[in-house]
């Protein structure tokens, strides 16, 4: 019974002996590997609540390849600051940050560092917000409390935002709460003026606009006096904010072109985006004294009073 079949199997085994052995060996190896992997214990790491690379605002996690770089970078930067190697630390900063936050002046940067690093400092980092290719971290800098146990000192930390930005193939740092520079290049021109919104520097809690204004008239052009309110505004859609440079007077002589830095309070994590830049009270005046008492009289003799809205979107 089944002699034929048995013979067939025997022949088959004889013919495919090598293949069968190879298959069995591979199969055994797989079983052994599985068994060993099952036995392998994951090393237990110290349980902490520290999640430095998880954004506190939207729970976004920085990819590991970037998070390692960022940690190393901040550590290196703080190390330079602690050791007083200002040039090296300055070189880690982005071109925009050097320009906007420190006027490309190492001495100004040194002043900023020495104010914070009065002694050896420790730090901790926490991812705050991520967008496009920018990672914003909250960096807390504090005294080496372990050396003193806070004897005779207050438990206080210094906090600011660091932003990591790509500059070419490199990642560079933005410090001093400077987040980003955005080129705007919006131009509005009429018979009286030419206004160019060149760029804006985004800081953690404010935005600074670089505005170039040309007075095309033969009269004095006033866009902002020190004594009037609501002259220069930033339209955020449902709210308008006044410029924060309270003492900034924008008055141009006939034919004059000047560049101004105009700031508005705006946190980087606010949902509302700037919609328009508004010059609410432009006055083309025959005479301008800059004195509040004469303002009404000067306005009465004005060549033109108008407002101008420059869309930013």
């Amino acid at each position: 019974m089944f002699t034929k079949q048995r013979l067939k199997i025997r022949n088959f085994i004889k013919d495919h002996k090598k293949i069968i052995i190879i298959v069995i060996v591979i199969w055994l190896i797989i079983i052994i590997i599985n068994f060993l992997l099952g036995l392998r214990k994951e090393p237990i790491v110290l349980n902490t609540s520290y999640t430095p690379h998880e954004s506190v605002l939207d729970s976004d996690v920085v990819p590991e390849k970037d998070s390692v770089k960022i940690s190393d970078m901040i550590d290196k930067y703080i190390g330079y600051c602690n050791n007083g190697e200002y040039e090296k630390a300055f070189n880690m900063i982005s071109t925009n940050c050097k320009e906007k936050a420190f006027n490309n002046d190492v001495e100004k940067y040194k002043e900023y560092v020495t104010k914070i690093f009065t002694q050896f400092k420790r730090y901790s980092i926490q991812d705050y917000k991520n967008y496009d290719n920018t990672y914003i971290y909250t960096v807390r800098i504090f005294n080496d409390f372990i050396k003193t146990g806070l004897t005779g000192e207050k438990f206080a930390t210094f906090e600011e935002k660091f932003a990591m930005v790509k500059e070419g193939n490199e990642i560079k740092l933005n410090v001093g709460d400077f987040i980003d520079k955005v080129e705007l290049k919006r131009v509005v021109e009429d018979d009286y003026s030419k206004i160019r919104i060149m760029s804006k520097a985004v800081f953690y809690d404010y935005e600074e606009y670089e505005v170039k204004i040309t007075n095309k008239t033969d009269y004095i052009m006033v866009l902002s006096s020190v004594y009037e309110g609501e002259e220069v505004l930033l339209d955020l859609g449902n709210i308008r904010r006044e410029m924060t440079n309270d003492s900034l007077e924008i008055a141009l002589a006939p034919g004059e072109t000047r560049t101004y830095k105009i700031s508005f309070s705006k946190y980087v994590d606010e949902k509302e985006n700037p919609q328009a830049f508004v010059f609410n009270k432009i006055r083309i005046l025959k005479a301008y004294s800059g004195v509040e008492e004469n303002a009404e009289k000067e306005k009465k003799n004005a060549v033109k009073l108008y407002s101008l809205t420059i869309p930013l979107t």
Binding site: N47, Y50, R122, R140, F145, G149, L150
Partner: protein, 202 residues
């Protein structure tokens, strides 16, 4: 005819290979099933009404070493453990053990010798009837330089501090929050690998 026969033979071979594979998988399955049943039987013996996951976790935890268990503790539990150990050593007058965990720079500045530390403990902190109550823990530091914790700790000798409070109340002096709860700073590198310092009363 011959060709057809050859083809049939080829088909049979393939079938046979497939059959072999199926048999292997079956053997493997039977093996896994037996293993699974035997482990279920073991669990039935245990007189516990917990869910399978809980039993598994409990079993895993049983297999852990003390160090591994410590690593799984929450930060709050670990910090409390460290500070309680420190206070217990002072309470039991084992000053050298408490002195050992102090940060070197802190020791150099405030307690260059063990005797000075001992004297401070006896005169300022107290021994014998110490109680420890962690009021607040704030986490600082980073993974590169170590995790730093600042704790507000109510650590006092029950008998002695009661007297003090009475004196202060009699004088009408307001006890400041900072006076009540001195700081303890702990730098933890790993489980049970830490340094400690505290705000010293002048």
């Amino acid at each position: 005819m011959r060709r057809k026969r050859k083809e049939n033979l080829e088909n049979q071979r393939i079938n046979l290979i497939l059959a072999c594979i199926v048999i292997m998988i079956m053997i493997l399955n039977i093996f896994l099933l037996i293993k699974c049943f035997s482990s279920n039987d073991n669990k039935k013996v245990e007189p516990q009404k917990e869910s399978t996951v809980e039993i598994k976790e409990a079993k895993e935890e049983q297999n852990l070493t003390e160090e591994e268990k410590g690593k799984l503790m929450t930060e709050q539990e670990r910090m409390t453990k460290y500070i309680v150990e420190f206070a217990t050593n002072i309470d039991n007058e084992e000053f050298s053990k408490a002195y050992e965990v102090l940060n070197e720079d802190f020791k150099k500045t405030y307690f260059p010798t063990l005797e000075e530390f001992e004297s401070y403990c006896r005169n300022v902190i107290g021994t014998g009837t110490l109680t420890v109550n962690v009021k607040n823990i704030e986490r600082l530091g980073n993974e590169k330089t170590g995790n730093l914790y600042v704790l507000s700790v109510d650590i006092h000798d029950v008998l002695r501090d009661n007297k003090k409070k009475e004196e202060k109340t009699a004088d009408g002096e307001k006890i400041e929050e900072e006076d009540k709860y001195p700081y303890v700073v702990i730098l933890e590198r790993d489980y049970n690998d830490y340094e400690l310092s505290f705000s010293v009363n002048a």
